[in-house]
């Protein structure tokens, strides 16, 4: 417990988290700081390239072994089970209608790149290793939840859901080849091919300034989250509680599951963070296409303004101490 508190304080006192808080506050006090969207977009791309590439280089060093297969199984399991659990809770405990339940569970089943990146930065600060393929696992966990959720909506809805055929094709494209999946997998494969020799030439850009750039990106994320907070009341009490309890639950289940596979400390931790994280780039776009009747004010606000801040500020040290001191 004291360990959790000291971890949490230590986590809160990193420049990254503090800049997130600064961004959040600056929006609340209506400051006119503005990070242009072009910058947010390229920073998101930077992080996907950087972690994918670094992961690939790591794999090229260690090679592939049995643990990779275990990791894939674990990822697919998390990607499928999380949205099912979320959907059932939302529908039966929260009494949320099918469509909004499906929309929200798609977000909680999918993953957040920035949460993952912050977790990596947390591990680095503690000099704890993790496997190179974890970036690939994140890519694997991006899309399944979206399809599972739509399937759930279709199964549970008596009246026909009027998703048009043309929308389904758009959705497939959007989900299978969405930018995170392509960039993460692509960079991982590139890292694998070029190995350590290729790393030296790009290290001053893809590795060294990583934490510093994260600082700028989290300032931006803080502002984006802060702007959403005004929609908070539309979300209501149940969904607000859900947005905090669901990640903790997903992380806990994942930690239990992962213990079956004997993953390293770093990998188990990253799996728990991925399970706990909720998407706010890929999932919203896909869900808006697949389930247009769902209310974006719910899923975006929950994912961006509640779960994301909770995860990077409190979730990360919490899941870490759950693993360590259980």
């Amino acid at each position: 417990m004291t360990n959790f508190i000291s971890d949490a304080i230590q986590n809160l006192a990193t420049p990254m988290i503090l800049f997130f808080v600064l961004g959040f506050i600056s929006t609340i006090i209506k400051s006119d700081i503005e990070i242009p969207q072009a910058i947010s977009k390229v920073l998101a791309i930077y992080f996907m390239i950087a972690i994918g590439f670094k992961g690939g280089v790591e794999i090229s060093k260690t090679g592939i072994d049995i643990s990779l297969y275990n990791a894939i199984i674990n990822s697919v399991f998390i990607g499928i089970s999380t949205p099912i659990v979320a959907f059932l809770i939302l529908k039966y405990i929260g009494k949320i209608d099918n469509i909004n339940s499906g929309a929200i569970s798609a977000h909680y089943g999918s993953v957040s790149v920035v949460t993952f990146v912050t977790a990596i930065s947390f591990l680095n600060s503690k000099s704890i290793d993790f496997s190179g393929y974890m970036a690939g696992m994140m890519a694997l966990m991006e899309s399944p939840a979206i399809f599972v959720s739509i399937l759930l909506v279709r199964i549970f809805s008596s009246q026909k859901i009027s998703t048009l055929k043309s929308n389904f094709i758009d959705l497939l494209k959007e989900s299978l080849f969405n930018s995170s999946v392509v960039l993460l997998f692509g960079s991982l494969v590139i890292g694998l091919i070029v190995g350590e020799k290729g790393m030296t030439s790009v290290k001053p850009f893809l590795v060294d300034p990583f934490n510093g750039i994260l600082t700028l990106f989290l300032l931006d994320m803080g502002m984006i989250a802060g702007q959403r907070i005004s929609e908070f009341k539309k979300v209501g009490f149940f969904l607000s509680v859900f947005a905090i309890c669901m990640p903790v639950m997903s992380a806990s289940i994942t930690i239990l599951m992962s213990s079956l596979f004997n993953f390293s400390l770093g990998d188990t931790f990253l799996f728990s963070v991925l399970a706990a994280s909720s998407s706010y780039i890929a999932a919203p776009a896909a869900v808006r296409i697949a389930l247009p009747q769902a209310n974006p004010a719910y899923y975006i606000t929950m994912s961006l303004a509640i779960t994301f801040p909770f995860n990077i500020m409190f979730g990360i040290p919490l899941y870490f101490s759950l693993i360590n001191y259980w």
Partner: protein, 94 residues
């Protein structure tokens, strides 16, 4: 000649363009990164995803084609997505 201004969520832009091409319009013009407020939610355009932004598509065409466009957009797009269609008189000079 009529000018139809279509305000549509950016996620639907590709689809609307596809529909316009299928109908066989002679051309269209797109203004991206449009913000706004309507009866649904405020499009402030700050999110990292495209869902809080609109695109404004302008089509100038003969009355029959415009009617066709309106029909198609109403059925294929506006049933599910918010969006607006504004119609006005215009003269094509060249």
């Amino acid at each position: 000649m009529k000018k139809l201004e279509i305000i549509i969520e950016s996620v639907e832009k590709r689809k609307v363009c596809r529909l316009l091409d299928q109908i066989g319009v002679s051309g269209y013009t797109i203004i991206d990164n449009v913000l706004g407020r309507g009866s649904h939610f405020t499009r402030s355009g700050t999110e990292l995803s495209e869902i809080m932004k609109s695109s404004l598509i302008i089509v100038v065409e003969k009355d029959e084609i415009i009617s066709k466009i309106i029909d198609v957009i109403k059925n294929e797009v506006l049933k599910f997505y918010s969006g607006k269609l504004f119609l006005s008189e215009v003269q094509i000079i060249e």
